[in-house]
């Protein structure tokens, strides 16, 4: 089960006993070294400067709801990519490349927080931070500090989600077994509700609460 603290009512504990890393002896060496490196000491911050680190940390905690430790070190992973310029290459016409857009948008968040809470973003209370971010999302394609808000939002979430969902603890939380080479999968097909037609591999764990559909009416 995932080492991350997530309440059952928020989707935690759906795959009791599922442990991705317990299977790592079945993975190839190259993949194992890449995945295991994410579990070691987080890389030092090299890209974010001064207060940017605090703002970026608070932002990443918000985006992935990592209120309490242990956390996936999302901010360090984002920072490492930006420091290495490991971007997707493209950027929008009229918008700076990713690294500069991160800096600009962190500064803009602090400005918003000063107006909203009278302090930098990182020092604002959790709920105030959430409100500031929701306001950015709600702007949609309208400009936020001079750039369409949706483009900034997608920049943040792309980097933050890539970091978080590359981590084995996150895979534990969602029932995904991670690397699959050289073993592969043997049992293909739909696992019907109620354990009918079990197509799980011996190391996969069934969802303990299959009806916890986040979208089901009355459950959201």
């Amino acid at each position: 089960m995932s080492g991350l603290p997530l309440d059952p009512s928020a989707g935690g504990g759906r795959f009791p006993g599922f442990d991705v890393m317990a299977q790592s002896k079945h993975w190839d060496e190259v993949t194992t070294s890449v995945v295991v490196s994410r579990l070691g000491m987080p890389p030092d911050i090299r890209f974010f400067r001064g207060t940017e680190e605090a703002t970026a940390s608070a932002l990443c905690d918000q985006l992935l709801d990592q209120k309490n430790p242990p956390r996936v070190p999302v901010v360090n992973m984002v920072d490492a990519r930006l420091a290495d310029e490991q971007t997707d290459g493209w950027h929008y016409d009229g918008m700076a490349p990713d690294g500069q857009s991160w800096r600009d948008s962190l500064a803009a968040l602090d400005e918003d927080a000063m107006v909203h809470s009278g302090c930098p973003f990182a020092e604002a209370p959790w709920d105030a931070q959430s409100a500031i971010l929701q306001a950015v999302l709600d702007l949609g394609s309208k400009p936020w500090h001079g750039t369409p808000a949706a483009r900034i939002w997608s920049l943040w979430t792309r980097y933050a989600c890539t970091a978080f969902y590359s981590h084995p603890w996150a895979w534990d939380e969602i029932g995904f077994p991670g690397p699959a080479y050289p073993r592969g999968y043997k049992n293909l097909g739909v696992n019907e509700p109620g354990g009918k037609n079990n197509r799980l591999e011996p190391f996969e764990v069934a969802d303990a609460r299959p009806a916890q559909d986040p979208l089901r009416k009355g459950n959201s």
Binding site: W90, Y181, V190
Partner: protein, 558 residues
């Protein structure tokens, strides 16, 4: 099977099991920069590698360059989403227009094997109607060649990849040499939903053999096709065409970024290419230049090769280079089931329908779309969820539900428009070259197809029993940018891929496609390249250079 092996021995040149033939690479022939080779090829992807293999077999001296590495799947690729970032072309590019198209991971690859290293593996043919959409529907343009011109090459390449699938009822009905692969949870949901809606869906066509092929092993259904197949089960030119090219004396020169094509002002012929290899600037002489860098880099290279004779870019006398670039509208719709679908198991490409491919006279739009299984892994799935506006606690909860979702993707035929194009940006890359700016805006027909495809996917998923559906708008599959045409006013190259402006300059990649149908393009790109090679090498004797066809007379010269 023997006839395939006689034509292309690649699958038998690989070791039994995963891995590469180290001997073959160590023994690879090397040419001097000063040696005038018969042909230098720019880019070892779908089109470039096919060309290299065909021309090497015909006895030509071939140097095939690629900006990226000569991959060893065992050591260079991982069974991991985030760890596969190095497979994509991530040099800087700028995107613009009313509907900008993100590039990077979603659109183009680098290194020997090209974008097919991380393509999904669908290998459908275009339909006969694709070649004549202007005549039939008054939209887009007609190709200078017909389906029947490509048909023999479709069959050849399908055998060489090879492609597996059920008998194919759409377009020009045909069958495959390999039976379909078994279907996983996601494919099963598609088949159920299609059945419920009265829509025909078929398993395939996928460039993954259901069984061994030569020394290539059987697929292990691990689901990481978009991260490069470490098993050697999924076809890419790295394993389907490059080994045979090497065995026939071709040189693959990796880590070599071509920066400029040189044209002799006096003869009007290409003389070779300037390239940057590990920091040094070099020039390879060649009797013929074949460009195969794909729809962004091919136009960019031509534009960056401007000269006194071609002040607006090589082959750009009629302002066509970079224009009529297309993507397919690729909305993806996912459905939620109480059952566990676990779509990460098995290759993402499994099941498709082409029932909506052709123009339906009862609809307000022209042309159509296809629908296929897509099966995103967690990071890509998080993008779907985030696109619905979920973040923080909502996102985590939604993501915990991953195993219950099934996901389909459509490919909508977008029309070729002149303003959808590559131009040179004022920004420079690390070689000091202007980077490509790619502008995209959709027309009304494009938008109508996106919504129509979404509603069919929703029907299918509801038909399979989904209680909720969500959709994300995406774009896939670049083609065009240096299209073929009947003459120099309508195309950069002719139907044989020879440029109108420079008689010994060919373009054999996705950029020559005038339209893109609703089919994934790699098979067609390879078939077009195989045909071009065949036309170049057909009959004739003497040195390859003698076989270069006599140039057609150009109109105004600049």
């Amino acid at each position: 099977m023997n006839s395939v092996r006689d034509r292309n021995e690649s699958a038998w040149l690989l070791p039994a099991g995963p891995g590469i033939n180290h001997r073959l690479r160590a023994d690879m022939r090397h040419f001097d920069d000063e040696e005038e080779v018969d042909v230098v090829i720019v880019g070892c992807g779908a089109g470039g590698s096919t060309m290299a293999q065909r021309l090497a077999r015909a006895g030509w001296s071939v140097v095939a360059m690629d900006a990226g590495p000569f991959w060893d799947p065992e050591t260079d690729w991982v069974s991991d989403e985030a760890g596969s970032h190095h497979l994509y072309w991530t040099e800087p590019r700028v995107i613009g227009g009313a509907d900008p198209v993100p590039l990077g991971s979603n659109n183009s690859g680098r290194g020997v094997g090209g974008s097919m290293v991380h393509y999904a593996g669908y290998a459908p043919r275009f339909h006969p109607s694709d070649f004549r959409i202007h005549s039939a529907d008054g939209v887009g343009t007609d190709w200078p060649i017909e389906y029947t011109d490509l048909k023999p090459y479709y069959t050849e390449i399908e055998e060489e990849l090879p492609v597996s699938g059920q008998d194919w009822p759409w377009g020009d009905p045909h069958s495959y040499s390999y039976s379909p692969n078994p279907v996983s949870g996601n494919g099963d949901m598609f088949l159920r939903g299609a059945l419920a809606c009265g829509i025909t869906a078929k398993v395939g066509p996928v460039a993954i053999a259901n069984g061994r092929f030569g020394n290539r092993p059987h697929c292990i259904y691990r689901g990481f096709c978009l991260q490069g197949c470490k098993v050697n089960a999924k076809a890419s030119p790295l394993i389907t065409h490059i080994p045979d090219a090497l065995a026939h004396g071709a040189e693959v020169r990796a880590d070599s970024m071509v920066t400029r094509i040189e044209v002799d002002e006096r003869t009007g012929k290409a003389t070779g290419v300037h390239y940057n290899r590990r920091g040094s600037q070099r020039f390879q002489r060649a009797r013929m230049v074949v460009v195969a860098g794909y729809s962004i880099e091919t136009p960019r290279l031509l534009l960056n090769s401007a000269s006194a004779r071609f002040p607006d870019g090589l082959c750009n006398d009629f302002d066509l280079v970079g224009r009529y670039l297309m993507v397919q509208g690729a909305p993806q719709t996912a459905g939620r089931f109480d059952a566990e679908v676990r779509m990460y198991k098995a290759p993402p490409p499994e099941v498709s329908t082409e029932e909506f491919y052709e123009t339906d006279p009862t609809k307000p739009y022209k042309r159509g779309f296809s629908i296929q299984t897509v099966s995103p892994l967690p990071i890509t799935w998080a993008e779907h969820v985030a696109a619905q506006g979920h973040w923080g606690a909502g996102l985590r909860q939604y993501m915990s539900d991953y195993v219950h979702w099934s996901c389909l993707g459509a490919l909508c035929e977008f029309l070729p428009l002149p303003e959808n194009r590559v131009i040179l940006s004022s920004e420079k890359d690390r070689h000091g070259l202007p980077v490509a700016q790619f502008n995209y805006s959709q027309c009304d027909n494009d938008k109508a197809l996106m919504r129509a495809a979404q509603s069919v996917m929703e029907d299918i998923l509801h038909g399979a029993g989904a209680d909720e559906v969500i959709t994300i708008d995406r774009y896939a599959h670049l083609v065009g940018g240096a299209r073929m045409g009947a003459d120099e006013h309508s195309g950069v190259v002719d139907g044989d891929c020879r440029s109108f402006a420079v008689p010994n300059l060919y373009i054999t990649d996705g950029s020559v496609l005038p339209t893109e149908g609703s089919a994934n393009p790699a098979l067609t790109i390879m078939a077009v390249a195989a045909r071009a090679a065949d036309r170049l090498t057909a009959g004739g004797s003497g040195s390859p250079a003698d076989r270069i066809p006599v140039p057609v007379r150009r109109g105004a010269t600049g």
